[in-house]
């Protein structure tokens, strides 16, 4: 045995029971008198006590408007808000704080790039490349832009497993391409895209890349310098922070070239009726009073995840997903939708001929929360010729027993309809 193999991987372990104790909703809620089995994490994550406490502390001791007052409270609030920005910077390993723009969520991040970059730099005959896996929030803004500017949307197809076909991607990115906008992890199928490779391929043509990280950040460690993407957007509520919080990372040189997205207070240096001078980044993109508490809560949530460690979280979730995949495949009539080579968190499935909404209603009877529907990814549903799927999505606090409960409940549905 070589020294290298002797030293190899001590898999990081997660004390799931201790983690569960941090999430009060998991013990407070009993749908239909059953313990809550929360498997709808891709839609929104639950909030741990330290984040809840941080929100309460802010509102009870620190609140005032930010960047506007000389009084103590305004300074306290401003410091906390800017501290949250540093936490996001650290979490994504961005070079500079000013590369982090606070947003209301991933959707706003994509729209910011559409208005700020797209409406300034994309014109007639230009092309935007996305994948078949995108959430509507990374499709519709680009369709709107294409319609306005006479640009074209190019969509990279996926194969029967739910993997992006890289040869097609290579073929679609070319001299007319002005932007590549792709998801890191698919919310409908769980596919993890080889984004680093796809970014490098776009850069070979000098094309900037926006990554939709909404489903990635709770499950995979993200390093924007290593990825080398121009933009990276995510939502706070999917990573155990408050709704209404989120951030967009953008390389400083790109953010500087871009036009503001919204006009108003805080985003200006000076205003006269003749001419307004915009503030420096990131303030240029943060017009108006933001949800201050939400952003501070986001910073706390990222620290919470950081303390536990994304490597340990990813390892735990990987085992859960592998276990769930195996157990569900063994149920008569269950069809898994999305079997990509690399997946995170998501198990989308169909039970015989039973409509997913009926599956969801019956699972709820057993206290199990899954999402049913098209997951705001209708092109993916069309690709797999299903109107909808039932989707279980796992997070750091889910257990193997919860997977067993899911499988048992699915078996009951299958028997009821047999």
């Amino acid at each position: 045995m070589t020294a290298q193999t002797a030293l190899a991987v001590t898999p990081p372990t997660l004390d799931v029971e201790r983690i569960r104790a941090d999430f009060p909703i998991l013990r407070n809620v009993h749908p239909h008198g059953k313990p809550l089995v929360y498997l709808d994490n891709a839609a929104s994550g639950q909030m741990p006590q330290p984040v809840i406490d941080r929100l309460v502390r802010y509102q009870t001791h620190e609140h005032a408007n930010i960047h506007r007052g000389v009084h103590t409270l305004s300074e306290t609030a401003t410091a906390a808000y800017e501290d949250a920005r540093r936490r996001v910077q650290k979490f994504l390993n961005a070079r500079q704080e000013r590369e982090i723009v606070f947003t209301s969520g991933c959707t706003e991040g994509v729209n910011l790039v559409m208005h700020g970059y797209g409406r300034r730099f994309i014109g007639e005959g230009d092309e935007i490349v996305i994948t078949w896996l995108e959430h509507h929030s990374n499709i519709v803004p680009w369709q709107m832009l294409c319609e306005e500017r006479g640009a074209k949307l190019k969509v990279v197809p996926i194969d029967d497993r739910g993997d992006v076909i890289l040869e097609e991607y290579e073929r679609l990115v070319g001299p007319r391409t002005k932007l590549v906008a792709i998801t890191h992890v698919s919310n409908a199928l769980g596919t993890v895209n080889p984004v680093k490779q796809m970014i490098a391929m776009a850069h070979a043509h000098g094309v900037p890349v926006l990554i939709d990280g909404a489903q990635a950040v709770p499950h995979v460690a993200v390093d924007v310098q290593d990825l080398d993407c121009e933009f990276y957007a995510f939502s706070g509520h999917k990573i155990f922070g408050p709704t209404g919080s989120g951030a967009l990372y953008g390389k400083a040189e790109w953010l500087e070239k871009m036009q503001p997205f919204k006009g108003g207070g805080d985003m200006i240096l000076s205003v006269t009726f003749e001419k307004t001078t915009y503030n420096a980044i990131p303030a240029k993109f943060e017009a108006g009073t933001p949800p201050i508490a939400a952003m501070i809560g986001l910073g706390e949530a990222l620290d919470y995840v950081g303390r536990i460690g994304l490597d340990a979280i990813a390892a735990h979730e990987h085992e859960l997903l592998a276990y769930a995949t195996e157990k569900m495949s063994a149920v008569d009539g269950v069809r898994l939708i999305g079997t990509a080579r690399q997946k995170a968190s998501v198990l989308s499935f169909y039970v015989g001929e039973v409509h997913p909404h009926d599956v969801g209603t019956l699972l709820n009877e057993d206290g199990i929360a899954v999402r049913t529907g098209h997951h705001c990814a209708q092109p993916v549903m069309q690709r797999f010729k299903v109107p909808a799927t039932a989707r279980a999505s796992f997070a750091l606090y889910n257990t193997f027993e919860e997977v067993d409960a899911l499988v048992a409940s699915v078996r009951k549905v299958q028997q009821l309809f047999a």
């Binding site: 909404h357 009926d358 209603t361 019956l362 009877e365 529907g373 909808a388 309809f417």
Partner: protein, 156 residues
């Protein structure tokens, strides 16, 4: 409160397996298409109105079990009834499904359709049950298609 498993067991599964009046009428006088975009339920109704009464009715489409069972039962109940009476039933079914009509204590003409009373406790599924009735009304007033969202929303 009736739980949803009971609801499924008592009616829905039977009509889901053996939907009544499934298909399309060749000699229809009225047709309509109904769509519930949230659920993806999509049905087509064809009916023959003769002398002010529903002489024939059929449905087809892709939908969840609740929608299919509701459509199937609806066809069996409205066949032979005067259009005016069917419109009354449409209103009463909608009121029951949204919890505005309590069939145990208030007067109604719903008969065995009251098995769907429990749907009011499943807010996300109410529109699945109402869609066939909503589509039937659209057929009567000669609207080619309807949906459960936007201006035509039967619940809001």
């Amino acid at each position: 409160m009736m739980d949803s498993k009971q609801l499924y067991q008592e009616v829905i599964l039977d009509h889901n397996r053996k939907p009544r009046n499934y298909g399309a009428l060749a000699d229809a006088t009225h047709r309509s298409e109904g769509l519930n975009p949230l659920c993806g339920d999509h049905i087509w109704l064809s009916l023959k109105v003769d002398g002010g009464a529903v002489a024939g009715i059929a449905f087809e489409g892709q939908s969840c079990a609740i929608c299919k069972a509701s459509a199937s039962m609806m066809t069996t109940v409205v066949k032979g009834k005067a259009v005016g009476d069917v419109e009354t039933l449409i209103g009463e079914f909608r009121a029951m499904a949204t919890g505005q009509l309590e069939p145990a204590t208030q007067a109604h003409h719903l008969g065995r359709l009251t098995v769907f009373a429990g749907i009011k406790d499943l807010p996300s599924r109410v529109k699945c049950a109402i869609l066939p009735w909503h589509t039937l009304h659209a057929a009567f007033v000669q609207e080619g298609s309807t949906t459960t969202e936007g201006e035509a929303d039967p619940v809001s």
